[in-house]
Structures are given as C-alpha cells and as structure tokens.
Subunit: 423 residues, 2 copies
C-alpha cells in the first residue's frame, strides 16, 4: 500500500487529549499497512497567542521575525504528536518545514512553495517511521530564512507533500464532517457532499467556503491529488475532492455542488472616471502596486452626456485602507470625482460543474433572490460559478433561498459540528 | 571596538516589559560602538511549561522529540527580542542554534558543543545588524537533528560564541548583581566579588554556586574569555571572571574567594566490600555504565580482622535510583554486604586561589565548623578548594560560621535580589 498524507488542524490537537486521540488515528493508519506522513498545525489558539505576544512588543513586527516566532507553534505540536505516537509503540520523527524540504520564496508571512525536497521524509518512511511535518512553514531558497505560508496554509503543505511523495491520498482532518452544500449554521438542512470535483472545490474555496485553503485546492487540482476532507472526531467518511466525481460510480454529476458565501469583502466605487482608454488600467495598476487583491470588477456604461463612468470592485476588507490610500494618491492624475467605500456587503455564490450544460441556472438563481427580497448589487460569473454581491444583512436569506431553489436541502438535518476549520 | 556577547536569562525576558528593557540595553551597547551578539534563554518558565506538556502526553518522551519541543522556547524569546530591537530603530536578526552554527554531538538533552561555525552571525554583524542567538540549543553533526545542551547551558552557548567570534567580553545577565562570597539568602552580609579567577569560579560552580553554568566556566577558562556576571535590572558593575584578577590592579589576590554550598547531592555507602584489588574498580565501572556522575569518594581503612572496607561516594540525587539499581545488580559479583542511601546531606566548600600559599586554611575551616557544632561526614580537597559533607540541616550554620571565620562579611548588607539565575 502507498503513502497517506494526513493533515490535522489546530482544533484536533488543541490539548494533550486531542494529541493522543490523533496519535491513535495515525497509528491505526500505519497498522493498516500505509506509510504515513502527518502535517500538523499549531495547537488550538497558539498562533493567535504568539501574535498577541508580538503585538505587546511592537505594533510593526519585522516579517522575518514574526515568521520565526509563529513557527514555534507547529514545533510544539509536532514534537508532542511524535511523543504520543512513540507512547503507542510506534516510531515517529518530527520535521520542521525546513527539515522536510519545504522550499519557498522570501515573501515572509505569505511565502509560496517553490519546491519540495523531501529526502529526510523519504528516509524516515524507509526506516519504518511515521513522519510528522510542521504545517504552514518553510525555508526561503535565497536567504535560508524561516518563512510562513500564510493563514490556513497547513492544508497546502499537506497537498504539496502528497504531490512530491506520490501519495495515494491527502486526508484533511478538522472538526467538520466534510464539505457541505452550504454553511450548516445558515442552512441547517445543508447536505454533506460525498464527492466534489477539484474545480468546483476551487470555486467554493475562492467564494468563501472556509473548509479548504484555496492554494491547497489549486495544488491538488494541478497534481491530481485526491483530497479526503473529514472529521478527526469521528470515523465517518467525509468528502472526497477528486478530478472526476463520477469516475468509478454510476451516478451522474450533480448540477449544483453548493452555495458559498463570503462576508470578508468590501466594495469600492470610483465615481466619475473619464471614459478614456487607459483610465481603468491606471486605477488597477495603482492597486496592484499596493499589493491589493481585487475580486469582482464592474464598470457601468458611461453616460453619453458626461463621458464619465463609475468603476466598482470588491476586495478583502483588510486591504480597504491601503486601496483607498492608493486611489486617493492618483485622483488628480485620473481625474475621477470621488471614492465610495462600503464594507456592509456579502457575496453569495452558486457553484456547479453542471452549469456548463444546463441553461437557465442564472435565471433560477436570480428568481430565488428576488422572491427573498434580496437586491443584487454586482454580478460576476465563471464557467461553473455565479456570484452576486448583496447587502451584508441579506446574506443569510440569500443563501437559504438559493439552497432551497436548487433542491439541495437534505431530508433531515445531519448532526454536524461546524466551527472554525481549526487551521 | 570589538564584539560584545551578551546573554540574558529567562527571568530577564519573562514578559514583554522585560524584553523591551533588555532590548534597550542591547541598543545602548550597540550605540556605544560595539558589535553585539545576544544569546537569549526561553521566557520565564516556558521550558518548564513545555516539559509539563510533554509529561501530559507521555511519561517517557523520546529525547529527540523532547529537544525539538523545548527549543521552541528560545525561538519565541529571540524573535520577540529582535522585534523589540527593531522597534527601537535598530536592525536585529534572530538565529536558531542550528542557524548560528552551534554544532553538537548527538546526546539529546545534554549535547556537547563540538564546533561553532558562526558564518551567518558574522555576516549579520557585517551588515550592521545585532545578532540574536537561541541559547541552550544546537544541531547534531551526524544526524542534523536539533539538540539541547542541558539545563542552564545558555551560558555555555554565549561563551562558546564569544570564543568563536573573538569577542572582547561575554556578559552574563541575570537577576543577581554578580558573584557573592556566599549565597546572600544564607549570609546576609555576603559581599559581591569585583573580580574572581576562572579557576576559582570553576570550583565555585562545581561546588553548587548556581550563578554560572559549569561548562560555561570551563569554556571561558580554556579560551581565556573574560566573563562579566551582572544584573539586567541595574547598570551596576557586576563580577568579572578573568584569568588573573590582580592583573592591571594594585590589589593582592584575596586568599578566599567565597563559600559555596550544594544541597543537590546524595551519599551512597557500599558496606562490607572485600578489600581486594579491583573491587572498587568494578563498583565504579558499574556506575559509569549507568552514566552516573560521581563527585566525592571516600574509602575507609579496612578493618584488619575482617578484610572488609566501606566505600562512600556522593552523586546527584536525581541519579540516586539509577546508581542503587546498578549496584544491586553487582552485589553477588562484588560480594559486598549492603548499600546505604542518604539524601539528607549537604556540601559546603571553601574556595580560594590563596590556599596554595597560605597554610592553615583547613584547620581554620574545620575549627569554624566545630565551633558551630557541625559534624563532618566526608572531606575532599583540590588545590584551591576544601569541601565537606555535612548533615543537610546544618548547611546554613556551616556556611555562616565559615564565612565569618574567614572575615568575608561586608560592613553592611548590600541590597540584592537573589532569586534563581533565570536560566
């Protein structure tokens, strides 16, 4: 049997009891005949506590040092997990991101994996050991400094390792049972998906479903890694994220995978932009220079009388101040009238690979929103997704109405724990 | 000006306030024109807290993983210290033991430094940075695994780095003002020593004075590194530990440097050992095989009638069980009568380079003990030290009587804080 990579989030290893429970599950997998590589996050709220410590020292910690600090969290959890496995009579060796060969660029706090050189992991597996790897961290190729991959990136470490090791599956454990058709806190009748495609999961992650880290799904899709999202608190099957969910089954692909929502964005409108070639480019160049991530963009048709147009776009709320500053600095150059900032918005997205071959999905989606009295402020679509921006206060009813309109409701409410994903 | 190595103990960096205070002191040294390398311990009780966590997981943590766990402590303190220095407008870079080039053997939990390859530290200093190095830790030459050097070994890291970098001084900061003629908690009139020789400090450290780690002093003596022991809570001069305390001064070397005591030892007596060649060797071979560290050894003159002798020795109390087990296993082979174990003992030592040229010191020491009603159980001497084993309950009065008998008392009680050394 092949290699299994398992990733456990912080909520699964929050205390000694959790660590022992996870150790037992790892040992069971080993006893079943697999080579096991485990990626682990920091215990519970450790990362936040370390951030708080940094804040007590300085409001602006140098990114290199913040990474050095935060990586202490996984060092603690991985060593404890290796100890708990030893206590169960199996050999385990823990490895930092650097030791595991997670090579990154030098962008502290949001480093990207450039390469994985897992020589020490392979050696440990050959020795019959279980390898425990610190999630979320690596070492920069240029400066050999310790880097972190950004919040929630332990998922990415796991999938990247699975790809580098040719693992047969990457199991992502958290405190939820799998991927649901909607957030069960909003839609109690949401169903757990048994199987979902990489591309649908990618759209769901990009649309605010917090169950898997976006870069993790990108990695899994690129390298064709099957990802099994499941709970560390039960032995139930979770959700399989695979290239083709219908393969090896006699089922048809569902038209709609689910409804995602996102309350983390804000909307900026640049009012009265002269409708000339190059004006929009200048605006988005300024935002890119400030490293602001833009999501949806809408440009109104310009009023013939004035030759002016409005450009609206959405972005992470945390980038709001940076973006407003960058735009204010180019007001004279661009000659726009004013800026509007709105962070009382939410995004609701309908995702499904079946959209490609089923017309009328958009109409049914918008009809559901209209019947729930939800006003659409912006629209954006991909081949397998439709997203709308609505008033933040209407997000819940928009999600519920959409979920019902596409017959996604389960016959009965499944017992689920839906908290953070513990990353 | 040259390189200054500063070492700060855990009590000096116990919280954000302490870290900021230490950062200010480091920056002051940098502003005075020195290149500064800082070795830092884990914050406050962090190391003990990590040990507790390990204990919650398993009573027998694998040493490799325990080292991985414990080294998280310095990682946190050094990153926070680098941040605090940045906040004061200076550049600082933190380095793990591995990054700093602290190469050790593979004895997890008590690794010895084999080599220091401080290339990254030198580079950081050349760039104008302050280098912050994790104390207590290194990387094994053979396996590239993370190692720790044993409790209190951050002092050793500092002196070893000072030697490798050719530093002009190694400053050891803690919460005490320096080295005293006796523990001020027992002798309120104890005096702070301005200067003491490496060899005297070595005997004091070996005799239970906890102010400096034994291996640190050995390193300092071997490489001739001046060590300045001082408090991080004041700017007062502390105690200089140097090769020749009289050099450059017009003072004579004091006859007696101080009185040390140690309550951490136990005594084992092997009763009724056949007085034949090789019996003692067999006993101490068995102890050595169990990695038991022996301190003092006394063998009685054998009783002519029986041809039997008693062998007594002292050892760390924590090795007591191991030693008793090792000896029990060779009882039939050696043919001794029985074992006695006593951990209600204490060691009191008088230390001074002047002993060499001043006869009568021993007589005066023993007279002082006698007048205080203290019974001597064992005696051991070196060229510059006399140690006696006494009843643990009499340690305080033995130290006080000796301190007075050699006129070590100060005219007035100095205001000192004497706690742990914060390592």
């Amino acid at each position: 049997m092949g290699i299994v990579v398992q990733k456990y989030g912080g909520s699964s290893v929050a205390d000694a009891t959790g660590i022992k429970r996870v150790a037992q599950r790892i040992v069971n997998t080993k006893r079943a005949g697999h080579d096991v590589v485990v990626v682990v996050s920091a215990m519970g709220d450790t990362t936040d506590e370390l951030r708080d410590l940094a804040e007590q020292v300085t409001p602006l910690p140098p990114p290199r040092e913040l990474d050095m600090l935060l990586t202490a969290g996984e060092r603690i959890s991985m060593a404890l997990l290796a100890m708990a496995i030893a206590q169960l009579g199996h050999q385990a060796r823990s490895f930092t991101g650097s030791q595991a060969g997670v090579i990154t660029d030098s962008a502290h706090g949001r480093a990207k994996i450039i390469d994985i050189t897992p020589g020490r992991i392979v050696k440990a597996l050959e020795d019959g050991s279980i390898a425990i790897v610190a999630g979320f961290q690596g070492v920069s190729q240029d400066t050999k400094d310790i880097t972190t991959l950004g919040r929630g990136a332990s998922d990415t470490t796991a999938v990247a390792l699975a790809a580098a090791l040719g693992a047969e599956v990457c199991e992502i454990y958290s405190d939820v049972d799998g991927v649901f058709t909607a957030d069960p806190r909003i839609v109690p009748t949401a169903r757990k998906l048994d199987r979902v495609s990489h591309e649908e999961m990618l759209e769901m992650a990009a649309s605010g479903a917090k169950i898997l880290h976006l870069r993790c799904v990108e990695y899994a899709r690129r390298y064709g890694i099957p990802v099994h999202v499941r709970s560390s608190f039960s032995t139930k099957e979770g959700t399989w994220v695979v290239a083709d969910p219908t393969e090896g089954t006699d089922m048809e692909q569902a038209i709609i995978a689910g409804v995602a929502h996102d309350r983390s964005e804000a909307k900026i409108t640049v009012v009265g932009v002269p409708d000339k070639v190059g004006e929009a480019a200048r605006i988005f160049e300024a935002l890119a220079a400030g490293e602001v991530n833009i999501d949806m963009v809408v440009q109104n048709i310009s009023a013939a009388a004035t030759g002016l147009t409005d450009i609206s776009f959405t972005l992470p709320r945390e980038d709001g101040q940076t973006a407003m500053g960058a735009l204010a600095r180019i007001q004279d150059e661009v000659g726009y009238d004013k800026l509007l900032y709105d962070d009382q918005i939410g995004k609701v997205s309908l995702i499904g690979a079946g959209m490609r071959s089923h017309p009328g999905i958009t109409a049914r989606f918008f009809a559901a929103l209209a019947s729930a009295g939800v006003n659409i402020e912006m629209i954006s679509t991909s081949e397998i997704r439709i997203s709308v921006i609505v008033d933040e206060a209407q997000v819940d009813s928009a999600v519920q109405a959409t979920h019902s309109a596409f017959d996604l409701d389960a016959d009965e409410v499944e017992a689920v724990v839906y908290g953070g994903t513990g990353r």
